[in-house]
Amino acid sequence: MRQPLLALLAKEPAHGYELKLALEQTFGQAYPSPNIGQIYVTLKRLEQDGLVRGQDVAQDSRPNKKVYELTPAGRAELASWVEAPTEGPRVRDEFFMKLVLAPLAGVADRMELINSQRRHYFGIMRSLVEMQAGMDHGDTAARLLVEGAVLHLQADLDWLERCQEELV
């Protein structure tokens, strides 16, 4: 979670707990609720790498809290992360290996493999569609993420159909 923390700190300095809340608010259901310990560990590493700088702030009747801010090196790191092209999703290469190899090895029938994989995808589709139906309209990040998952799955199913046409 290095980059998301850098991105949040680029907006304004914050302490660990504020960052946890900000992550939850930004991503909603789309991101696992971050573990506060993991956030502290990541902040410490980012500080060691010179990407953020922590400063103790005294609090009345409570232990000091550490407020972090982005360093110029951190800003450069964030910019290069944002600017770098992101790898596209990979084809399900494990399934493809099975599909190509299994009949050669006499282990399984291709049509059966395709059918069982398709049933599996349909099951995931069911879960995603149910998830979509129960989703809060305001949780934009989560909604778009699920929509992305549905579209990827649709592509996987189309590809399965192509494999069926060519290989069976």
Binding site: R118, R119, Y121, I124, S127, V129, M131, L145, Q164
Partner: protein
């Protein structure tokens, strides 16, 4: 669903098209049962025989071989006229291109099937008002179909198909000509009809149907390649990250 009576059954169903001495077997020996109350989706590549199968099952085209049973009665040998009567009472049809009567209003399109089936004008009107309200298009009752968006036209077509409370709703790519928002709405309406007990047999390319249907039948080359109930994926669906990982 296994306890429900079989509403529709096909045995060894085949459809051969002949043209100029060349014959093409679009459907090649289909065995299929649909239970009352079930929602079954037929999927498969273009040319796999999906639409042909649906048209034959609905009596829009005669079968070449095999049997069709609807509500315990064998119907494959019926005349065109007898099929028309059967459809009027027991089968609703929804098509990809809506097929509304362009010279009639939305209201008349929906009332017509009930009137043809012998309902009084008052009954037909009442049913039409309920359906249009239910499908969210009551305000368009007096409009000509051509004034409606694709999504609205498909709702009208759905209302018309449901007008006589058919035992069976057949839908041929009902979302194939709609944008994603309208497609989702139409699917939602179909799911609602199913939830209230409507038996549905639907042909589609849209895999999202697997999120709504009880069962998916996959056709390939005019035959059934797979026929299985949809079993939800990971039991706990609270965690979206199970499906897609965010990097970072």
């Amino acid at each position: 669903m296994s306890d429900a009576p079989v509403l529709l059954a096909a045995r060894g169903l085949a459809k051969v098209y002949r043209s100029g001495g060349v014959s093409c077997e679009a459907v090649r020996g289909i065995d299929l049962e649909v239970a009352a109350g079930e929602f079954v989706a037929i999927m498969g590549p273009s040319g796999s025989g999906k639409s042909t199968l649906l048209h034959v099952l609905g009596g829009l085209e005669p079968a070449t071989r095999g049997e069709i049973w609807l509500r315990g009665r064998r119907v494959d040998g019926l005349s065109t006229a007898a099929w028309a009567v059967l459809r009027r009472k027991h089968i609703g049809f929804v098509f990809q291109f809506f097929n509304l009567l362009s010279t009639m209003t939305v209201a008349d399109n929906v009332e017509l099937p009930a009137l043809l089936a012998g309902a009084s004008p008052r009954q037909a009107r009442k049913r039409r008002e309920e359906l249009l309200a239910d499908l969210g298009i009551a305000a368009k009752a007096d409009a000509a179909p051509s004034r409606l968006s694709g999504g609205e036209q498909q709702r009208v077509a759905l209302a018309r198909a449901l007008a006589n409370e058919p035992s069976l709703l057949l839908a041929d790519e009902p979302t194939g000509n709609l944008d994603s928002t309208n497609a989702r709405d139409v699917l939602r309406l179909l799911a609602r009809a199913h939830a209230s007990g409507q038996t549905i047999l639907l042909v589609t390319h849209d895999a999202k149907i697997a999120g709504l249907a009880d069962r998916v039948v996959c056709l390939f080359d005019g035959m059934i390649a797979d026929d299985a109930p949809v079993v939800p994926g990971p039991r706990k669906v609270s965690a979206i990250q199970d499906f897609l990982e965010l990097r970072g």
